[in-house]
Amino acid sequence: MADEIKLFKVTIDNITVEVPPGTSILQAARKIGGDVAPPAMCYYTPLKGSGGKCRTCLVEVAAGSTADPRPMPKLVASCRTNVMDGMVVKNITSPKVMDARNGVVEFLLINHPLDCPICDQAGECHLQDLSYEHGKESTRYEFKKRTFKKHDLGKYIQLHMTRCILCYRCVFTADQVTNNRVHGVLDRGDHSEIATYIKMSLDNDFIGNVIDVCPVGALTDKTFRFKNRVWFTKPVDAHRDCPTCCGKVTLWQRGDEVLRVTARKDQWGEIMNTEDGKPGWICNECRFEKKKTSDWVIEGVMKVSRHSVISANKYINAVKPEETVAAVMGGRAPKLLMDIHNVSDINDPDVDLSLIQGPATGKVFEKKSKS
């Protein structure tokens, strides 16, 4: 039993957990879960080297360790600070931390365009959650928000640089998941932006994962662009036999149309590991090309936290009721007073949004009224 690892006892917000050495404060807090876990905008567990940039996960260390119980002089980034035995951490119990976090969120929102009504990320945006909890009602910033020249990143990925918070997650993803990174952060300070420098499109096999890791709506799926709001779509776990990736995904459906395919995410918004313990990155083919229900083996409705807006109107174990009138009335179907599809232009059975590559235009929906 000599190689048994001694566990470190760490107290976060008066809750004590035992974690192996080398665990970050953030991971230890996530082990407790709930409100104790600090928010993280740039840290992403499957990506090595991520974290330490956004400063939203700042916590106060009230006692460094049992050996040296002095408090740390400044707030520390919990994603990059490892725990020590006997460490006492204060997160939501420390007014200093909450104050600092409010300040960080205000900084993150200084240049954010707040175009959530247009943004496809709305509803599953971490910046939205964060500002809902820590944001101010109005801005104190008096100057013009920065804008950028639009970059085209190819047919799959839409870049909205104004929404970017420079978390570098997509850069790490391209480095570690794909075999060739062609984009990065150019310039510095206020001018820094995600771009490809020489106009290149992101078309590596696994580059679609940058959409999943993006905490805001800076990188979004072009094949899903404006097609629906995420909270109206139905998330369904599905898989397929993919030669390049694990093939385990979440389909975001409307009726039987597959509007969007994403990797499966856990409660922290990070990509879930597959059974073999590796992160479940999915390839571009699964994400962008397989937009038919017949391509997938459906496993069932994704489990969404009931606090999420996405969980509205999703019923677990729902049974689709059968038509009873015809059975009772001896085969006579009920008289339909109005078929909504005869009148309505919305949810037109002839318009299959999932088959359109990019965002829909006004013309797409006009088809029926002309014929």
Partner: protein, 181 residues
């Protein structure tokens, strides 16, 4: 047990002859009817005369435009998700080059429908709208013989263009413009 001491014991004495011909009571009732001739009428001649609604009356929805006549709605879906009757549906589309004068934002509602058979005029859509794009006006949905006439499309809901039809725009704004000033 008595809750109050205002209760009167019922008089069960048989009516006298004078009481049983009801003359006095009929006359009393007629007097009340007569007095109403000289009071203010409770009704109005509806189609010719219309009552003014309260300033907070919640009537038919109107899709608003901005000062330049562009549609404000960006199809964000917040009205649809706020709608308790699930009456609102929409389809979003991307604004193309050359359509900047029509739509205010990058995304717009290509189709926008309110099912007036479902709508309960609660006004949650107006409350939810982040773009000031929908509001409840001071008219109600007119009656119709068929059901299909109650599916209000974007063309039925849009306010007249303030540049092309300033009078219609002002009329559609109604009391609301006074509220804003």
């Amino acid at each position: 047990m008595q809750l109050t001491n205002r209760a009167k014991p019922v008089d069960r004495k048989p009516m006298t002859w004078l009481e049983s011909i009801y003359l006095w009571n009929i006359g009393k009732g007629m007097l009340i009817t007569l007095s109403h001739f000289f009071k203010k009428k409770a009704t109005i001649q509806y189609p010719e005369k219309k009552r003014t609604f309260s300033q907070v009356f919640r009537g038919l929805q109107v899709l608003n435009r901005d000062e330049e006549g562009r549609e404000r709605c960006t199809a964000c879906g917040l009205c649809a998700v706020a709608c308790p009757a699930e009456a609102i549906t929409m389809e979003a589309a991307e604004r193309q080059n050359g359509e900047e004068h029509l739509y205010r934002e990058e995304k717009y509602a290509a189709k926008y429908e309110i099912n007036m058979l479902r709508c309960i005029f609660c006004g949650y859509c107006e409350e939810a709208c982040p773009k000031d794009a929908i509001y409840l006006s001071q008219t109600f949905a007119p009656a119709n013989y068929g059901r299909s006439g109650f599916i209000y499309k974007k063309e039925d809901l849009l306010i007249p263009d303030p540049i092309k039809d300033p009078e219609g725009y002002k009329k559609a704004l109604g009391e609301r413009s006074k509220l804003k000033d």
